[in-house]
Symmetry: C2
Subunit: 260 residues, 2 copies
Amino acid sequence: MDNSERSEIKINTVDLIAKLGGAPYLNKSERSIWLQIYDRILGSINDGALPPHSKLPGELDVANLFHVSRVTVRRALSKLQQEGYLQARKGVGIFVRQQELRYAVQSKMHFFDGLGETHDEIQTKTLSLRYKSVSLAGAEALNIPIGSKVIELTRIRLANSAAIYLATKEFPEKRFPDFEKHYYQKHSVTDVYNAHGIGEYHRAQTRISGSFANQLDAEALKLTHETPLLRMMSVNCDTDEVPIEYNVGRWPLTSVELIF
Amino acid sequence: MDNSERSEIKINTVDLIAKLGGAPYLNKSERSIWLQIYDRILGSINDGALPPHSKLPGELDVANLFHVSRVTVRRALSKLQQEGYLQARKGVGIFVRQQELRYAVQSKMHFFDGLGETHDEIQTKTLSLRYKSVSLAGAEALNIPIGSKVIELTRIRLANSAAIYLATKEFPEKRFPDFEKHYYQKHSVTDVYNAHGIGEYHRAQTRISGSFANQLDAEALKLTHETPLLRMMSVNCDTDEVPIEYNVGRWPLTSVELIF
DNA sequence: CAGTGGTCTAGACCACATG
DNA sequence: ATGTGGTCTAGACCACTGG
């Protein structure tokens, strides 16, 4: 079990009525009811009435609270999930996500160099390290034959215990025969580079696009399935312009700002 | 009425059954029914059975076709709209969007320099040109006082008549007293620069983030309300490092790839 | 006017997580 | 065993578009 999942704050219905600002009456003239409910819940999140990690009442309770059907409430909740404000956990409940507003990422330096200034507690967790055949995109980026072996490293970055960045990297196995040994000493890719005689390297290419979270992305980033993501593909090269790392990074769409 | 909205192709139910690959039977064991419907419709779009600009049957017809309720079909259609494959027009119907797969945008050059190679027909349409007070973000970017007057220019970019890029620019009015006169000659911002003695300029900053389409964005890009967007903010400066243009550009999330 | 998508209801059953 | 979110139904009424 995760650190970030401890200390649930449970909100009961009576509290929520107060927190949502009193009378739960709506007229559907201007804005549809489900959007008004969306507004109200989002407002409660933004003004702190629904703090991060707090648990919402059950959907039926919320529906009764607003005097609407469960379906209507679910539309509001669904939009809030897509925008990264809430995360639903089947069989458990719906929780307020820690929305780490925006992360400045200086693309020309190493990543997250500018990040420590604004956020105290940055952690990197290794999710998996395995040997496999290179992906199609990886083969092209690393300029190695299809079928080549690579080391695939998946890591997640937490800021104040909230997941904000998921990265999957591929390294040519030939270039890094002792990857695992050196990596696990300090969980540092730079150390692996150094141990294999690569003192300097640089980013050769960066591509940015969008996509939607698949099951695994969603799980790692504590998002709901199909949430939109900002996706960045990058390639690192050594001083001889030989590709040494292919990286695919993903952020929740609304939680990052890339600065160039 | 738009060019791109002419030549509707109407698909009737019988056709669709054939196009969707025969038997509309589903079992909900592995993948939920609405996702299977999503798969089938997306498959038909991708293999050309549902070409761009074609009109789907009414939601009730599609529901009957798959032997499910209208609500279930709407979930599949909703996801397809969010991903930019379909656009619903109230009171009219649901249409297949032209998905211009991915646009390479070289950020260090002028935009879309690399684009003509892959797409023949690029147009830029001016949606509005008006005088107003600078926005908050614009004031900061242009380094001018809040309340300053700017020229706000909104343009949309079409590739093969499909909307792919929406840009809103702000220019300091003091710097460009004759903006309108020069702009309307060839609808070229570069010409306006030249006419005001700016021969060279460069991009000073680029910020990339995500957002969701508001009503106007959605209308211009022919997307459904609340579709996720890739958003890019940039500032152009003259050779003295004085900001001359603040630009906010938006793409449908899945229709662009920014290459740096 | 008829046809369309947008909204909403009041149920129902399921899969999952937790105690 | 209980409570949760996930899925699905069969209706209903509305607002909008177009002929």
